[in-house]
C-alpha cells in the first residue's frame, strides 16, 4: 500500500510575485527493491511507491495533499471541473514509464500560477535536487513549454472561499443539500453562497449567480 503523507514535502518551494508564482514540488517514487533500502534511508522526504499509479484515486489523493501544501490556490485543483490533478497524474505516469528500469525516480513538478491559469510540467531527474539547487525561474519557464495549461472558469476568481461555521438557513440552491459546520463554501460578490464544486461547474457555462443573475466575470 502507498505510504500516506503525514507532513508537507521538505523541498516544496514558492517563488512569489505580484502576478504569478512558481511552485516546485518534488515527488520521489520508488519500488522499494531491497537493493535500494540504503538509498531510501537517506531520503529527506518520504518516498511514494510507484504502484500508486495502479490506483488512480489514491494517486489523486496524494497529489491533492501535495498541492495543498504547495500554495497552489485551492480553486486550481478542487472542483469537479478541475482536471489539474488527473493531468498531473497522467504526466507522472508517462514519466514513470519512461524510466521503469530505475528503482528510484525523482520527479520535479513545476507549476507556474497566474491569475486565471497555471502551467505545469513534470520533469524526471536522475538525482535529487537540494533546496539551493532548484532550477532558476528562466529554466522553469522554458520547461513549462513541455507541460500543459489549466484554465479556471471565468468567474472562479470572484469566489470567496470559506468554511461554514454556523449552519446556514438555506441549502445550496444548486444541489439542494444543507450546509453543515466545517463544509467548504463559496460566496459570490452578490453574497449568495454555494458549494465550490456546484458553482464552479455552473461557471463553466455561465459566470452568473444562479439565484440573482449577478455577472461574476467582471469582478476581480
Amino acid at each position: 500500500m502507498a505510504q500516506q503523507f503525514q507532513e508537507p514535502p521538505l523541498f516544496s518551494h514558492v517563488a512569489n510575485t505580484c502576478i504569478n508564482h512558481v511552485v516546485y514540488i518534488t515527488i520521489i517514487l520508488t519500488s522499494f527493491d531491497p537493493s535500494s533500502a540504503a538509498e531510501v534511508c537517506r531520503m529527506q522526504s518520504p518516498p511514494i511507491e510507484r504502484d500508486i499509479f495502479n490506483h488512480p484515486s489514491i494517486c489523486h489523493d496524494i497529489l491533492r495533499q501535495l498541492l495543498a501544501y504547495s500554495f497552489v490556490p485551492i480553486n486550481f485543483y478542487i472542483g469537479q471541473d478541475c482536471d489539474l490533478i488527473p493531468n498531473l497524474s497522467t504526466r507522472l505516469c508517462e514519466s514513470v514509464l519512461q524510466r521503469s528500469g530505475v528503482h528510484i525516480n525523482y520527479f520535479q513538478v513545476f507549476i507556474t500560477v497566474f491569475q486565471t491559469h497555471c502551467c505545469y510540467n513534470v520533469v524526471g531527474t536522475p538525482f535529487f535536487f537540494q533546496a539551493d539547487e532548484l532550477p532558476s525561474r528562466e529554466m522553469v519557464q522554458r520547461m513549462t513549454c513541455d507541460g500543459g495549461e489549466h484554465s479556471l472558469p471565468a468567474g472562479a476568481m470572484a469566489l470567496k472561499r470559506f468554511l461554514i461555521q454556523d449552519e446556514q438557513e438555506d441549502p445550496c440552491a444548486i444541489c439542494i443539500k444543507d450546509f453543515n459546520s466545517g463544509d467548504n463554501a463559496a460566496r459570490l460578490p452578490c453574497s449568495h453562497v454555494f458549494h465550490p464544486d456546484c458553482i464552479l461547474q455552473w461557471f463553466v457555462q455561465k459566470s452568473t449567480c444562479p439565484l440573482c443573475c449577478f455577472a461574476c466575470s467582471c469582478v476581480s
Binding site: 440552491a173 444548486i174 444541489c175 439542494i176 443539500k177 452568473t208 444562479p210 443573475c213
Partner: protein, 192 residues
C-alpha cells in the same frame, strides 16, 4: 451525470405542495430521467378546469442544463406547438439557471398559459389567430381544453351526439361547438 439526489429532493418538495398548487411530478419508471409533470389550467383563462400533462426528460447535465419539457396534452396556445407540444419558454433554453427546479419550471409553464407571448410564437397559426381574431382564439382554446384536458372529455362527444340526434349534420355540429367553445346552448342557437 444527473444529480439524482437533487431530483429526489425535488420530487419530495413537489409532493408536499401538490394539494395547494395542483402541480405534480412523478417518475415514469425506476430511473429518474423520464418524468411526467401535471399542471392545472389557470383560473380565468380558456384553460381553466383542464389538467395538462407534460413529458419531462432530464439531460445528463441536469441541473446545469435545463430539463426538456413537452406538452403531452394537446393545447391551443401561441407559444406551444399544437402538433408536437413543444414549448417556447426562455427558462427552458438560454435563461435556465441551476437554482431553478422542476416545480419552478412547471410554474413558469403555467404562467405562460395565463400570459401568451404571440410575438415570440411556437405555433404561427395559433399566434395569428390570437392577434387577428382573439375571440375565436379563446373559443378554440376552451374547446381544446374541453376536448383534451378534462377528465370528462366525453362531455364534448355527448353534446355532439345529442345535437346530431336532433337532426343536425355531425360535421356542422362539431365546427359550431368548436366555435362557441363547447357551449351546448350557444351551439344550438346557431344551428337553428
Amino acid at each position: 451525470m444527473i444529480d439524482l439526489a437533487r431530483v429526489q429532493k425535488e420530487l419530495v418538495e413537489c409532493s408536499k405542495d401538490a394539494e395547494g398548487s395542483g402541480i405534480k411530478v412523478s417518475p415514469k419508471n425506476d430511473n429518474l430521467v423520464l418524468l411526467i409533470g401535471t399542471i392545472p389550467g389557470p383560473v380565468g383563462t380558456p384553460y381553466e378546469g383542464g389538467i395538462f400533462q407534460i413529458d419531462i426528460t432530464l439531460p445528463d447535465g441536469y441541473p446545469f442544463e435545463p430539463p426538456k419539457m413537452q406538452f403531452k396534452t394537446k393545447v391551443w396556445h401561441p407559444n406551444i406547438s399544437s402538433q408536437s407540444g413543444a414549448i417556447c419558454l426562455d427558462i427552458l433554453k438560454d435563461q435556465w439557471s441551476p437554482a431553478l427546479t422542476l416545480k419552478t419550471a412547471l410554474l413558469s409553464v403555467q404562467a405562460l398559459l395565463s400570459a401568451p407571448q404571440p410575438d415570440d410564437p411556437q405555433d404561427a397559426v395559433v399566434a395569428q389567430q390570437y392577434l387577428k381574431d382573439y375571440q375565436t382564439f379563446v373559443n378554440t382554446a376552451r374547446y381544446w381544453t374541453e376536448s383534451f384536458a378534462k377528465a370528462s372529455s366525453r362531455g364534448i362527444e355527448d353534446k355532439v351526439q345529442k345535437l346530431v340526434e336532433m337532426g343536425f349534420p355531425e360535421a356542422r355540429v362539431r365546427s359550431i361547438l368548436e366555435a362557441v367553445g363547447g357551449d351546448e346552448n350557444m351551439a344550438l342557437e346557431r344551428l337553428l
